[in-house]
C-alpha cells in the first residue's frame, strides 16, 4: 500500500500530466470522431497513462492497478483537468466490462483483459442487445453450442457502441433451451477481428455518426477459455454487469479515470450558458430561466450521485438504488438538451455565423436526446427496478417465468 497522501498523489499526477499529456485545446475541445484513428489515439493516451503509473487507480495491484481509494481517483481527475485523456475507454471498458472480469473471470482472463486494458492493449465492448429486444436481456436468442473443447456461436447482436474500435465483445448467449430463461445463459468473450463466421456492420445514427454496430455470428468458433463464469450461469455475470452499467451511466463509477462522466457523443462545444452569451441572449429573462435550470440539473446530478452512492455504501439504500442515479442522469441530459434548443431558439433552423458550430452540436444532441434514457437500459426498466427493488412493490407479471425457454413466445 502507498504511504503517499492524496495531496501528494495529486501533486505528482499534476506534474506528470504537465510533462506527458497533450493539453486540451479550449477552442477545439475533444469531439470524438467515429473513425479508427480516434481509437488509436485513445490507445496511445492509455499507454502513456500506464507508463506514467496512473492507470487503474481503483483496480487491484495484481492486475495492473494501483489498489487505491476513490479519493485518489478523484484527485487524479482534478490533476488531469485540461489535458487530453483516454476518456472514451471509460465506458464500457474500465467502468463496466473490466470490473465484471475481476468479479467472474479466471486468473488468466483477469491478466489478459484487465491488465491488457490498463496497458492500453485491449479495448472491450458489450454484445448484449439483440434485434428482438434489449430490455428483456435474459431473453437473448443468440446461441452457443459446445463442440468438444470449443463453442460455436450463432445469432445476431445490435446497438453495440463502438465495437468497431474494440478488441473483444462480452457476449451473452443461450446455452440451454430447456431451462427457464435466466438459467440457460452463458457469457463469452468474442474477439472482434476478421475471422470466419464473424461480420460487423456499422449503423448510421441520427446524428450521421456511425458509432453503433451490429454483429452477425455464423458458426463462429470460440475457444474454451472464451467462457466467463460458469456454463448456464451467465445471468449471474450479466446481473453484475448491469449493476456496473447503471452505476457508470449515472456517473458514479469508481473505475473510471479522469472525468467521471462519460462525455456525450457530440461533446457540447458550449454549455447552455456559453451559448446564451455567444448569442447575446444572456440578459433575456426567459433564457436566464432556462440556463439556470440546466445548471441546476448539472449541479444536482453530482449531488445526487454523491448522496445515493454514499447511502448505498452504508446500506441505507439497497444496491438497486443505482437506478436512481441512472434515472436522474437521463432527466438531467434531457434538460440540458432541451435548454440548448430553447437558447438557440429560431436560429436552430439553419445555423450559420460564428455560433453555427455550437448550435449544430446542440441540435444534434437534441436529436439524440433519448439516447440518455435508452442506453444502459431504458428509464422504464430503471423505474421498474426502483419501484420493485427499492420500494418493495410487487414484481411485474412475467409470462416466461419457470417456462422452458424453448416454449417462450417471441415477437416477430
Amino acid at each position: 500500500m502507498t504511504t503517499e497522501t492524496v495531496e501528494e498523489f495529486e501533486a505528482r499526477a499534476r506534474a506528470w500530466a504537465a510533462e506527458n499529456l497533450p493539453p486540451e485545446d479550449p477552442d477545439n475541445p475533444p469531439h470524438f470522431e467515429d473513425d479508427l484513428e480516434d481509437w488509436s489515439r485513445q490507445r496511445e493516451l492509455q499507454k502513456k497513462v500506464w507508463e506514467g503509473g496512473f492507470a487503474g487507480i481503483c483496480f487491484p495491484q495484481e492486475y495492473g492497478g494501483l489498489g487505491l481509494s476513490t479519493a485518489y481517483q478523484e484527485a487524479y481527475g482534478r490533476a488531469i483537468h485540461g489535458y487530453q485523456t483516454p476518456t472514451r475507454l471509460n465506458l464500457p471498458t474500465f467502468a463496466i466490462v473490466a470490473p465484471v472480469i475481476l468479479d467472474h473471470g479466471t486468473e488468466e482472463q483477469k491478466q489478459k483483459y484487465v491488465r491488457g486494458a490498463l496497458m492500453g492493449d485491449v479495448i472491450l465492448s458489450q454484445f448484449f442487445s439483440e434485434p428482438k429486444g434489449g430490455s428483456d436481456l435474459a431473453g437473448v436468442i443468440t446461441r452457443a453450442e459446445r463442440d468438444g473443447d470449443t463453442w460455436v456461436l450463432n445469432g445476431n447482436k445490435i446497438w453495440s457502441t463502438a465495437a468497431y474500435g474494440a478488441d473483444y465483445g462480452i457476449c451473452l448467449a443461450r446455452t440451454d433451451w430447456d431451462a427457464p430463461k435466466h438459467r440457460g445463459l452463458s457469457m463469452f468473450m468474442v474477439p472482434i477481428k476478421e475471422q470466419a463466421g464473424f461480420t460487423l456492420n456499422r449503423i448510421r445514427m441520427v446524428t450521421a455518426d456511425s458509432d453503433f454496430c451490429e454483429e452477425f455470428f455464423e458458426d463462429l468458433v470460440l475457444p474454451a477459455d472464451a467462457l466467463v463464469g460458469e456454463v448456464n450461469d451467465g445471468w449471474t455475470v450479466a446481473s453484475r454487469q448491469l449493476v456496473y452499467e447503471r452505476t457508470a451511466v449515472g456517473g458514479g463509477s469508481q473505475y473510471t479515470q479522469g472525468p467521471r462522466m462519460p462525455r456525450p457523443q457530440n461533446h457540447d462545444v458550449q454549455s447552455p450558458a456559453e451559448l446564451a452569451k455567444s448569442l447575446g441572449k444572456q440578459d433575456d429573462p426567459y433564457v436566464q430561466d432556462r440556463v439556470g435550470l440546466a445548471h441546476t440539473y448539472e449541479v444536482i446530478h453530482g449531488q445526487i450521485n454523491h448522496r445515493v452512492g454514499q447511502a448505498m455504501r452504508r446500506g441505507a439504500l439497497p444496491p438497486p438504488a443505482a437506478s436512481i442515479m441512472r434515472l436522474f442522469h437521463a432527466e438531467s441530459m434531457w434538460t440540458t438538451r432541451d435548454v440548448m434548443m430553447d437558447v438557440a431558439g429560431g436560429l436552430a433552423v439553419a445555423p450559420n455565423g460564428h455560433y453555427a458550430g455550437a448550435i449544430t452540436n446542440g441540435v444534434e444532441d437534441y436529436l439524440m436526446r433519448q439516447s440518455a434514457s435508452l442506453g444502459g437500459g431504458s428509464t422504464e426498466m430503471a423505474r421498474n427496478l426502483i419501484s420493485e427493488r427499492v420500494l418493495g412493490m410487487p414484481r411485474e407479471y412475467a409470462a416466461d417465468r419457470d417456462v422452458p425457454f424453448r416454449e417462450v413466445r417471441q415477437g416477430r
Partner: protein, 376 residues
C-alpha cells in the same frame, strides 16, 4: 435528511420529533386552525429550551451548536417541522438571529434581544416583503429617517411571517445612505399589524404598517455599507431552512403515499402492483433523493460559508420549490378523490410546500440568479 448525523444530532432529532408528535400532532393543529390560533407560545418556548433558537447564536452569547455546524443542526429541526407541518416561528426567529449575529461589533448591543429570542421569550420576524412586489430586499419603499438619536420609519411591509404573534420586527428600509435594517417592537406607537391568511392555514402572515414609528438609533442593525451582505446572509439562511422544511414535507408525504400504495386495492390488486403507477412512485423517489441531496449541500454550504453558497442555495431553492409541489400534486392524484377533501391530511402538506415554493424568491427568480452565478 443528512446521511451523516452524529449521535448527538440523532438525539436532537429524536427529541424534536417527540416534542412535535406529543404536543403538535396534526389533530392538534387542526383544532388550532379551527379557532384561528397560530401557534402555542409556551410550546415554542419549550422548543427553545431544546435549542431550536440557539444554534446560530455564538457561544459568547450563550448559544451553541450540536455538531459545530449550527445551521446543519437547525436544518434537522426544520425537517421535523416539515414532517409534521408544524406551525411555529422556527424560520422567522432564526433568520432574524442570523442577521443579529452577523453584524460584527454590534452583537453586544443586541445581546438582550438575542437572549430573548433564543430563550423563546421573544418572537421576531423579518419584515422584508412589500405589498404587491416580488422578492427585492435591497429596494425597499419603506423609509427610515435618522434623526439624531432616533430613527423614524414609514411605510408598509407584508407577508411578514407570524406578524400577529411577533414582539419584534427586523425591518429592511431605505436609510439616508442606503438600505439599513432596524429592530422595531411590535407595540411601538404607529405600528399596525393586520393578519393575512394565506395558503398555509397553520402559518399566517401579516401586513405591518409603520406610521412615523420612532425607535432609538441603537435599534439599527448594521450600517448601510454592511447591510447588503447581512441581508444576503439572512436570505441564504432563510432559504436553506425553508428547503430543509420542504424536504421534510415531501419526505413524509411520500411515506404516506407509499403506505397507500400497498393498502389501497383496485380490481383485486394493490395500487403498488400497477406499472403505470409504480413508475410514478419511482420518479417521486428519485426526485425526493435529489431534493435531499441538494438541500443538504445548500445547508452545508451556507453553514460553512462556502464561496459557492449563493449558487447552491438558489440551485436547491428552484429545484425543491418546483419538484416538491409536483410530487405532492402527483401524490394527491394517487390518493384519488379523498385527497382533495379537507378530511385528508395531504392538503396540509401541499399548502406548506406551496408557500415555501413562493417565499424568499420563486423558482424562476432563483433560476435567474443561478444563471448569473454560473462560475466561468
Amino acid at each position: 435528511m443528512q446521511l451523516d448525523l452524529n449521535d448527538d444530532q440523532k438525539t436532537f432529532q429524536q427529541t424534536a420529533r417527540r416534542a412535535i408528535e406529543k404536543e403538535m400532532p396534526l389533530s392538534r393543529i387542526r383544532e388550532m386552525v379551527e379557532v384561528g390560533a397560530t401557534f402555542d407560545r409556551r410550546w415554542w418556548q419549550s422548543g427553545a429550551e431544546l435549542g431550536w433558537a440557539a444554534m446560530l447564536v455564538p457561544e459568547e452569547l450563550d448559544g451553541g451548536t450540536i455538531s459545530g455546524d449550527g445551521l446543519c443542526d437547525l436544518a434537522i429541526v426544520a425537517e421535523e417541522f416539515g414532517r409534521g407541518v408544524v406551525p411555529g416561528p422556527l424560520q422567522a426567529v432564526n433568520t432574524v438571529i442570523a442577521g443579529l449575529v452577523e453584524v460584527v461589533g454590534e452583537q453586544e448591543r443586541h445581546a438582550e434581544t438575542i437572549g430573548g429570542l433564543f430563550s423563546g421569550e421573544l418572537i421576531a420576524s423579518w419584515a422584508v416583503y412589500e405589498p404587491g412586489r416580488e422578492w427585492d430586499p435591497l429596494n425597499p419603499s419603506v423609509v427610515a429617517k435618522v434623526n439624531g438619536d432616533s430613527i423614524v420609519i414609514d411605510g408598509v411591509k407584508d407577508r411578514v411571517e407570524h406578524a400577529t404573534s411577533a414582539d419584534l420586527f427586523l425591518v429592511t428600509a431605505s436609510g439616508p445612505e442606503g438600505v439599513i435594517q432596524v429592530l422595531v417592537p411590535a407595540d411601538a406607537a404607529g405600528v399596525t399589524v393586520t393578519r393575512q391568511d394565506g395558503v398555509d392555514l397553520a402559518r399566517p402572515f401579516g401586513e405591518v404598517r409603520f406610521e412615523n414609528v420612532e425607535v432609538a438609533a441603537a435599534n439599527q442593525v448594521g450600517t448601510s455599507s454592511t447591510t447588503p451582505a447581512v441581508v444576503e446572509r439572512q436570505f441564504q439562511v432563510a432559504v436553506a431552512l425553508q428547503c430543509a422544511e420542504t424536504a421534510g414535507v415531501v419526505g413524509r408525504a411520500f411515506e404516506m403515499s407509499c403506505e397507500w400504495a400497498f393498502d389501497r386495492y383496485s380490481f383485486g390488486r394493490p395500487l403498488a402492483s400497477y406499472q403505470a403507477l409504480k413508475h410514478r412512485w419511482a420518479d417521486q423517489k428519485t426526485w425526493l433523493e435529489a431534493i435531499l441531496a441538494t438541500t443538504d449541500a445548500a445547508v452545508e454550504a451556507v453553514s460553512r460559508r462556502s464561496s459557492n453558497s449563493a449558487e447552491l442555495v438558489s440551485v436547491a431553492a428552484n429545484y425543491v420549490g418546483d419538484k416538491s409541489t409536483e410530487i405532492i400534486q402527483d401524490i394527491v392524484q394517487l390518493f384519488g378523490g379523498i385527497a382533495i377533501t379537507y378530511e385528508h391530511d395531504i392538503h396540509f402538506y401541499l399548502r406548506r410546500a406551496t408557500i415555501n415554493k413562493h417565499l424568499y424568491g420563486t423558482p424562476t427568480e432563483h433560476r435567474r440568479r443561478v444563471a448569473q452565478l454560473i462560475p466561468a
